[in-house]
């Protein structure tokens, strides 16, 4: 039997780029020290009130616009009531009921394995994050630093047909959040968390009729893109097995959780036991009208996103699509690239150095570009040293690694290693003459068209410990052979 897979995502992404939390004046910054970014509001002391962070609303509206969603005429919030220690108020301020969300009914094109796909966005809304907790054998600890951090929840329609598509979409969204200056979108910091809906249906049936859809299984709290891929694939296999052994129809609509250790989904609760969150409009935040002017201002302030930068790199900078794709994948790399160009390096050289040497080094050592002390200024100086023929490109690589390891200026390292490329015509000529004198037989061979030219170059390099300028050397060898 052939099956069609239907996957929908709920992607939670923290807005990391506001100064303070979404309804609290506490700082919105990642801190290793627990419970340091906390104000009375976050601990729900009696009498505290929420105050909406305008900057967070602005960023949420920007995300709504990028996703092609419709923005509400009036902004308001709702309470989602539930008891859990990660939320001392025991309700979360969110935007559940349409038309409350900052964005409804949009769509986004994304690329998956070279193909352009479209996903429909049901809504995107702004809410407050809960505290983070760690569970041990007999105790749990709670860190309220995260409680109240602005959180964007994005809900897609079940438009993904594979785990690859879902992950490609998530990568596109991460890029959008980073490029728009909304979030670092770093899942290592817990800034991205997903709930995944998976169902399967017989491939022969018409998917436009909801009656043909399979039973929806929601998988909660998948915290990495790899996890999303694994959870979807696991769930597809599990549901197919149920189909094959004839027990699929007994499966009820349910919520499961992804267990990283066992790489499997585990049953949590049936839809029948779904929590009634008793939503109602948050009375402490007056409805406010979103003015056309403000929305327009936000729309105009949307920064250049990855696709636009990529097009610029290809069309204006003349680099290959392959390299452009690599550069725009991470905003930090793309920013680095543009900074390097601003330091006077040609876009092509910058691209060559960054996509091969720099990223090669980072990938090998599992580092981010922000982790290393090779600033765009240092890289540009290094490239200049090579392009001016002061050092060879092979030496350039060596210097680059040294800059990263020793945190020093490229010129200094070149000095320290005595690495100056020999560009002195007479010095090289003396050595060439000597090499040719020692090998008259090979000059003959060369004249007969034998491939021995590189041998001469190699000998000169050996004699100069690699410091001779290779192209200059080649020219002099040709001249000297001509003379004989």
């Amino acid at each position: 039997m052939e099956y069609k897979v239907m996957v929908g995502l709920e992607m939670h992404c923290e807005i990391s780029e506001t100064k303070s939390k979404v309804f609290s004046s506490a700082a919105n910054c990642y801190s290793e020290i627990p419970n340091t970014n906390v104000r009375p509001y976050d601990m729900a002391f009696p009498g505290v009130l929420p105050v909406v962070n305008k900057e967070a609303v602005k960023m949420a509206l920007m995300a709504s616009m990028i996703l092609g969603c419709k923005q509400p005429e009036y902004m308001y919030f709702e309470r989602k009531n539930y008891y859990y220690p990660d939320m001392p108020k025991n309700f979360q301020i969110t935007q559940e009921t349409k038309p409350a969300p900052v964005g409804i009914y949009g769509k986004l094109d994304y690329e998956c394995n070279g193909e352009v796909k479209t996903v429909r966005i049901n809504n995107i809304h702004l809410e407050e994050d809960a505290a983070s907790s760690d569970h041990y054998a007999t105790t749990s600890t709670i860190d309220y630093n995260r409680a109240g951090v602005p959180l964007l929840e994005l809900v897609t329609e079940p438009d993904f047909r594979s785990a690859d598509e879902a992950v490609a979409f998530l990568e596109t969204m991460r890029s959008i959040y980073q490029y728009a200056g909304i979030s670092e979108a770093d899942s290592k910091k817990g800034q991205i968390r997903c709930d995944v809906n998976v169902s399967i249906m017989d491939a022969s049936l018409d998917e436009s009729d909801m009656k043909n859809w399979g039973t929806k299984v929601e998988i909660k709290n998948v915290n990495s893109f790899g996890g999303v891929r694994d959870a979807i694939n696991y769930e597809i296999t599990r549901q197919m097995e149920l189909k094959e052994n004839g027990t699929y129809d007994e499966m009820e609509q349910q919520t499961r959780r992804w267990d990283e250790d066992s790489a499997s989904t585990i049953y949590m609760r049936s839809k029948v036991d779904a929590i009634d969150y008793k939503y109602f409009v948050e009375p402490n935040i007056p409805k406010f009208k979103l003015s056309k002017e403000w929305l327009e201002e936000i729309r105009k302030s949307i920064p250049e996103l990855a696709p636009q930068r990529k097009a610029k790199y290809i069309n204006e900078y003349g680099i290959t699509e392959y390299d452009a794709t690599i550069i725009v994948k991470e905003k930090a790399v793309s920013d680095y690239y543009e900074e390097t160009i601003k330091c006077g390096v040609s876009p092509k050289s910058a691209s060559n150095w960054i996509t091969t040497t720099v990223l090669g080094y980072l990938n090998k050592h599992e580092l981010e570009i922000s982790d290393v002390c090779l600033t765009p200024e240092r890289l540009s100086k290094l490239i200049k040293l090579v392009e001016d023929g002061k050092i060879s490109s092979k030496q350039g690589k060596e210097v680059l690694y040294k800059v990263i390891e020793d945190d020093k200026e490229p010129e200094k390292i070149v000095d320290e290693l005595g690495m100056k490329q020999i560009g002195d015509d007479n010095l090289i000529r003396d050595i060439v003459v000597k090499v040719l004198d020692e090998h008259p037989d090979l000059i003959e061979a060369h004249r007969k068209g034998k491939p021995v030219f590189d041998f001469f170059v190699g000998q000169v390099m050996k004699a100069t410990r690699g410091q001779a300028n290779p192209s200059l050397t080649a020219n002099i060898i040709r001249e000297e052979i001509e003379k004989r």
Binding site: P40, M43, A44, F45, P46, G47, V48, L49, P50, V51, V52, R79, N81, Y83, P85, P88, K89, N90, F91, D276, K278, F280, P283, N284, I285, P286
Partner: protein, 485 residues
């Protein structure tokens, strides 16, 4: 010489003239506090170590006052009259109290209330029943019971209150004093323990309209911590009290005020409504017109239910923070759920639990439209009906309750159906956020009764000026409770 029975301006003048010191005022107020604690059980905390305040040009400076116990006060026990917060000492002060601090006012006690403001009898606080200083067998009404008793008994010229249904304006009537809740958002609610956020108002209980105006002038102001607060800097309530009300148009609602609606009316109710009509005549003598208007009885009858549904729904959510884990006396339990359950089961009174059950019920997915959303729709209809009146009239004048203070015996927050709307109509002031003030307008069996004036939002100056003119035309200004029993 007694000072605590005088008006703010009188006391201020003597302070400025050096005839009395702030320290002497505080001493007198504390002495009266202990006496009234003995007779009325009006206080959760008496601040015996209260320090004298510096006397400045601000009328409130150096003068004692009381704070309802649901205002957060830094370093001072703030219980909301609930066992769930019986040991809670906040580390921040409500904005409105900070504003009074800046004015130089000196708090001398925290007053008893119905638990978290959820009651209208003054009998449900964790420290026991508050009795009416006029007659200790009667209630003060609530929830600002302790504040009303203390102001009426001459402990100080004013105390803060809060009002979600009529919690300032009803106790004021029962105790023969003035109770004023300004337009929603004029006074910041930051630091006020919430009951029902869309209905909660801060306000004041005093013995004359002018004092109420002076106090609210100092409490009010836009607050960055309360998004529902608004800039009222152009409003000066005290200056608005000119007493000139000629040509002002008032109205009262026939379905609420006409004696013919109450075929089985008690003697007290009859006298109360007759007395109200005498007050209406006084208004006319002052040059105002007073019309009788009609509002759909069915709509009016829905009023108490609308209040119950909305206030209980918001309350059950607002008070979810009371778990005993972060603050409050933590309960034992094998896990956090049992700890919360034990704390809440033990801590809340049965009345509050009943309201939580109602609030939860009306918000449940299968009930929400029928109860909660319908209540919100009817709330809108009621507010619109009053707003319609304000198109033609400056204010609505109505009697408060169905007579003088009720007996403590046998009156446990249960409404007499026949007079339900008469008892509850002040809630419209909370539905619409209208400025609303109660002033004393006479006596029945030697017990005070009150009349209420409610106007349109942001027209506090007008409402207070009408109340001020009417107060001046009647002999009940600045009265101190005289024990009749």
């Amino acid at each position: 010489m007694e000072y605590m029975t005088k008006t703010l301006k009188e006391i201020h003048k003597d302070l400025k003239d050096g005839k009395v010191t702030s320290a002497e005022l505080i001493k007198e107020s504390l002495k009266r506090s202990h006496e009234v604690q003995e007779s009325c059980n009006a206080f959760v905390t008496i601040l015996d170590d209260a320090k004298e305040g510096k006397v400045t040009d601000n009328i409130l400076s150096g003068i004692p006052y009381g704070i309802k116990d649901n205002y957060s006060t830094k370093g001072i026990l703030s219980t909301g009259s609930s066992n769930t917060l019986k040991d809670y000492v906040p580390f921040f002060t409500a904005t409105s109290i900070e504003n009074l601090d800046k004015a130089g006012a000196v708090p001398v006690n925290k007053t008893v209330m119905d638990e978290f403001g959820m009651g209208g009898t003054g009998t449900t606080g964790h420290t026991g029943i508050v009795t009416n200083p006029w007659d200790h067998t009667r209630m003060c009404a609530g929830s600002s019971a302790g504040s009303a008793a203390a102001v009426a008994a001459g402990v100080y010229p004013y105390a803060t209150g809060s009002d979600t249904g009529d919690s300032i304006r009803k106790p004021a009537a029962y105790c023969g004093i003035v109770g004023y809740k300004p337009t929603y958002g004029m006074i910041s609610r930051y630091g006020l323990f919430p009951f029902a956020s869309s209905l909660d108002h801060c306000g004041v209980l005093s013995r004359c309209v002018e004092d109420a105006a002076i106090v609210v002038d100092n409490m009010k102001g836009i607050d960055k911590n309360d998004m529902t607060s608004w800039d009222s800097s152009k409003i000066n309530l005290e200056k608005a009290l000119t007493g000139d009300v000629k040509g002002k148009k008032l109205c009262y609602v026939k379905e609420i005020c006409d004696i013919k609606n109450y075929p089985h009316a008690s003697k007290e109710l009859k006298e109360h409504l007759e007395n109200f009509m005498k007050t209406v005549e006084k208004c006319k003598e002052l040059g105002m017109t007073v019309d009788e208007v009609s509002i759909d009885q069915t709509l009016l009858n829905a009023l108490p239910s609308v209040y119950v549904v909305i206030s209980c729904a918001e309350a059950t959510s607002n008070m979810s923070n009371l778990t005993g884990i972060i603050f409050g006396p933590r309960a034992e339990g094998d896990n956090y759920i049992d700890m919360m359950k034990n704390y809440r089961t033990k801590g809340f009174s049965p009345l509050i639990k009943r309201r939580f059950v109602i609030g939860s019920y009306v918000l449940q997915a299968q009930n929400k439209d029928r109860y909660f959303y319908n209540a919100q729709r009817v709330r809108r209809l009621l507010v619109d009906a009053w707003k319609d009146l304000y198109k033609k009239y400056d204010a609505v004048i109505m009697p408060v309750g169905s007579g003088p203070a009720k007996h403590l015996d046998g009156s446990l927050d249960i409404l007499d159906e026949n007079t339900a709307v008469l008892e509850e109509h002040l809630q419209v002031g909370n539905f619409g956020g209208f400025p609303s003030i109660t002033i004393p307008n006479g006596f029945i069996d030697n017990l005070p009764v009150g009349v209420n004036i409610t106007g349109n939002c942001y027209e506090d100056e007008k409402v207070l000026n009408i109340a001020y003119a009417l107060e001046s035309a009647m002999p009940y200004k600045n009265q101190i409770a005289k024990e009749v029993k």
